[in-house]
């Protein structure tokens, strides 16, 4: 017999997950998977969608983005697996795909997959993503590996400091998947009020310049979600953003790299099995 406690436990809701594979039609929400290279993004992707997007322990494996779907508590989700990136600021093609999607694709939630064994280094990207969106869930992956190295992460403290849910996981063995789904849903529905950690800008002159730029950008690109971030990049001298502003392709960036290689992956898998 189920008690009330059972129904609020994420494990109870695991049965609410229906993996939809490549079927991403009629989705209600878009979930993006971001993270440093080789942290297990594709493993999380496969755990959610039931697909077998190729996983491997070398960086640069996912060069374009892969898409899949799942249903959870009567909502359809589209999941976008992005190439690994150390930063939203440097520029290689695969890193740009990830950056442009997080910035301009406007996912309903971005799951940042971080490697518990190399947390410090992974937090660079996590903090950058928190600068541009408050709808973030941190998937603290590879906690088994971390434990083997004698590392125990205080995920509640981390969640408090980052201001977003942190879910400890071993994605390879489905550990933490129910909790991840619950956190994703809570952030989307707003039942988990996120307060993303952001570095405060102290310099008033800089604030003034940013304000002017933001106004100009918003006039030119009214549908742009992250004018402030774009303003900061322009001040930073980011050539690719400058170019996008100059030829008015800013905001089109998210739509330019749509490739869904999962269609190719399935026949390969069928051959293997």
């Amino acid at each position: 017999m189920l008690t009330d406690a059972c129904q609020t436990c994420p494990i109870y809701n695991e049965s609410a997950l229906k993996k939809l594979g490549v079927n991403t039609e009629n989705f209600d929400f878009v979930v993006a998977l971001a993270g440093n290279p080789n942290t297990g993004k594709s493993t999380v992707f496969n755990a959610l969608t039931g697909l077998r997007q190729h996983t491997g322990n070398w960086p640069g494996k996912t060069v374009a983005r892969a898409e899949g779907g799942f249903e959870y508590n009567d909502h359809n989700f589209k999941v976008v697996d992005l190439p690994g990136t150390y930063s939203l600021l440097s520029t290689s093609t695969d890193e740009e795909i990830a950056r442009d999607f997080i910035l301009f694709g406007q996912p309903d939630v971005t799951i940042v997959v971080v490697d518990a064994t190399r947390l410090e280094r992974n937090l660079n990207l996590a903090l950058q993503i928190l600068e541009i969106t408050d709808r973030v869930v941190v998937a603290l992956n590879l906690i088994d590996e971390a434990a083997r190295h004698g590392i125990k992460v205080d995920e509640r403290h981390l969640a408090r400091e980052l201001g977003v849910p942190v879910v400890p996981m071993v994605a390879r063995r489905m550990v933490g998947v129910p909790q991840l789904l619950q956190a994703v849903e809570e952030v989307i529905l707003g039942t988990y009020p996120t307060r993303p950690h952001r570095i405060k800008q102290q310099d008033t002159r800089l604030e003034q310049v940013i304000g002017q730029l933001v106004n100009a950008i918003e006039t030119q690109f009214p549908s742009l979600p992250n004018a402030r971030w774009v303003a900061l990049r322009l001040l930073d001298g980011d050539a690719s953003i400058e170019e996008a502003v100059r030829n008015h392709t800013l905001g089109d960036l998210a739509r330019s790299n749509v490739i869904a290689p999962v269609g190719d992956v399935i026949p390969l898998q069928a051959v293997a099995s």
Binding site: S87, S90, T91, R121
Partner: protein, 82 residues
């Protein structure tokens, strides 16, 4: 002293990056900031690139890149408390 001169048994601390723009950004994204501890992890057969241990991760840098990182040697012996 620059990172390319670091001896395998020593641990150093980054003091300064002498490069600018995208290169500087890249190094910082990889975790190389002033105050970061670095040690030599592996040397490739030809001596270039060299793999360094930075914040629990191993990254390979070409000598040209390592030369853009100013360091101070922190201690004489590498601690083997792995």
């Amino acid at each position: 002293m620059t990172l390319d001169q670091l001896k395998p048994d020593l641990t150093a601390t980054v003091t300064h990056l002498t490069t600018t723009g995208a290169n500087r950004r890249r190094l910082m994204d990889l975790g190389l900031l002033p105050g970061t501890r670095v040690e030599v992890e592996m040397i490739s057969p030809l001596g270039d690139p060299v793999a360094y241990r930075v914040r629990g991760a191993v990254i390979a840098l070409r000598r040209k890149q390592a030369r853009e990182i100013e360091i101070a040697v922190a201690q004489e012996e590498k601690t083997h408390a792995d």
